[in-house]
Amino acid sequence: MFKKILIANRGEIAVRIIKACREMGISTVAVYSDVDRRSLHVQLADEAVPIGPAPAIESYLNMDRLIAATRTTGAEAIHPGYGFLAENSDFVLRCEKEGIVFIGPNSKALALVGDKVRARQTMEKADVPIIPGMKSIPKDLSEYEAAAKKLGYPVMIKASAGGGGKGMRIIYEGQELRPGLEAGRREAKSAFGDESVYLEKYIEEPRHVEFQVLADNYGNAVHLFERECSIQRRHQKIVEESPSQALDTKLRTKMGETAKKVVAAAGYNNAGTVEFLLDKSKNFFFLEVNARLQVEHPVTELCTGVDLVHQQIRIAAGEKLSFGQADVAQRGHALECRIYAEDPANNFLPSSGKILFLKEPKGPGVRHDCGIYSGWEVPSYYDPFLAKLIVWAENRESACRRMLAALNDYAILGISTSIGFLKDIVSHPEFRAGRTNTGFIKNHFENWRERDKGGDALKLALAAAAFDSLNSGPSGKRAVGEAKKTAVSPWQTLGHWRLGEG
């Protein structure tokens, strides 16, 4: 087993990995950019190494600095987390050449599945159902236009190098194609360093169902059942759950076995996720392999009892899988909500700033994975992703109730977050009925506004403010009548930054 691991990431996932290492008796090295010196992962790791300026391209994406930090600290392995270099096969190749263990798939498999276009070709050959669309990256724009016409609008623009909604656009008609491609390329370039995009037929309102897979270095693979991640905004998952309400035992087994077939066809090892789209008639299509630890991995951990980060480290260290398919079972129901620093009242504009106070939800079956704390300043350089709240309960309805109670017990003061929005999602009758698909947010939350919940809350909030003013000296006091008329910011009248929607 490794003695020391470097974690090439930040935020909640770096913290999650540090905790797993600690449990396994492995010491940890954190890396940080200039704006992350005060971040939680730096505080929690055994060692921490600065790797450059705030922009990711100069720090968390800088291979030379990461390799140097690994060498200097004597770490034997690198855990990439998700995002940044997690699915960069050049980086994995570099680690392999330098004799550093990359905790993830081998470079060859990663290059294959990371290239969404090649992956589609391979899976089609392996008899895995794929979504109709391009099977190569065209050089010329006119080829996109021809392909789009042939597939029939709407089509989906996708980045060949990555996921997470970056570079992704739905195109409903021909005139949107060119600007969509331009924006998609730019986003893909800045997120993954590769601007290749391709087109796929857009399957309307499918469910997003993915299977967690573990494969060791000796050809043994198990799947750990599904997660449904249909609740998405801007192609980003925000609520995930397991099991999916759309699968029965037969379909689950079929999809799980297909997921293992995907892994075998790609020569894949370590933890991975095989994503499928499930259409209204319950046909499923291979979407892609997420060759990393997923954000939503805790959902699977809670339902199966398998610690995925432990397994990743064991597999990378050369251990054989200690259990087979017959040894794993799904138990109860797990739900995850992703908490972003964004302002739902302002068109979900990312909000940076200082977290003045954090009150984490706690209780039986409640897990809070985060990289935030009271007093932390959310930098504007990275994803506005703060934390995830995961609950487990005996069944779906109990899990929903537990989630709502936990969200009601969760205060992040000083910045805007998506907590209020998540509460309304989990409370929604269609969600409660399990009628979820990727059009859910668009269909039910298009012009969502945080509602006043009524009751005495407002009055008591004012009373608390008054109590504070009374007790915080003369500067806090101000008599009524002194107030000036509020000026309206042009920002409010003119509309905010609109988030690109295609």
């Binding site: 990312p350 200082k354 106070f357 000083g414 005495d456 909030a461 009524v480 009548g481 000036k484």
Partner: protein, 168 residues
């Protein structure tokens, strides 16, 4: 004592009096009698007719962030709430609208030119913040008065981007 605060730029009045039997809270319509216990710098415990409330609070400059029963309020002290994104001059001229950056980001492209006419909802510029591209759209019909930034430029929060003049 009477207090006035602003929530979402709307004035709200509340009166809080310390009496022998506790605090009296009144909004002019209803008076509630509360036992208020400060538990920590960020937590108050209230008992009102035996009903228990926990109120979390944090302060930053003139704002108090208050969390009660799953709801969050940003309560602003009066007098300083007018701290806006813009200087007074642009605002004082009628029909002119100044778009400023609400947070640090990078200008990806400017889709309009000075003196160009714009429709409502027309995309004026694309700005990247926190790895996502955001389109800035016009809320009015009018023309572009002035452009303060160019593509590739990094902007700080409150930096003027584009000035529009609405059609009369």
């Amino acid at each position: 004592m009477d207090f006035e605060f602003f929530i979402n730029n709307e004035p709200r009045k509340i009166s809080l009096e310390k009496k022998e039997d506790g605090y009296h809270i009144s909004d002019g319509e209803k008076t509630m009698k509360a036992d208020i216990q400060p538990i920590s710098p960020n937590l108050l415990s209230l008992l009102i007719d035996g009903r228990s409330y926990r109120i979390y609070m944090a302060k930053d400059k003139d704002k108090k962030y208050i969390f009660i029963e799953g709801q969050q309020f940003v309560v602003q002290e009066p007098g300083r709430e007018a701290r806006g994104f813009h200087g007074g001059e642009e605002k004082s001229q009628e029909g002119k609208l100044l778009i400023t950056a609400p947070m640090p980001g990078k200008v990806i492209k400017i889709d309009v030119a000075e003196r160009q006419e714009v429709r409502k909802n027309q995309t004026l510029a694309v700005v990247e913040a926190m790895k996502m591209e955001n389109e800035i759209k016009s809320s009015v019909e009018g023309f572009v008065k002035k452009i303060f930034v160019s593509a590739g430029e990094l902007v700080d929060s409150e930096k003027p981007l584009i000035e529009l003049e609405a059609k009369k």
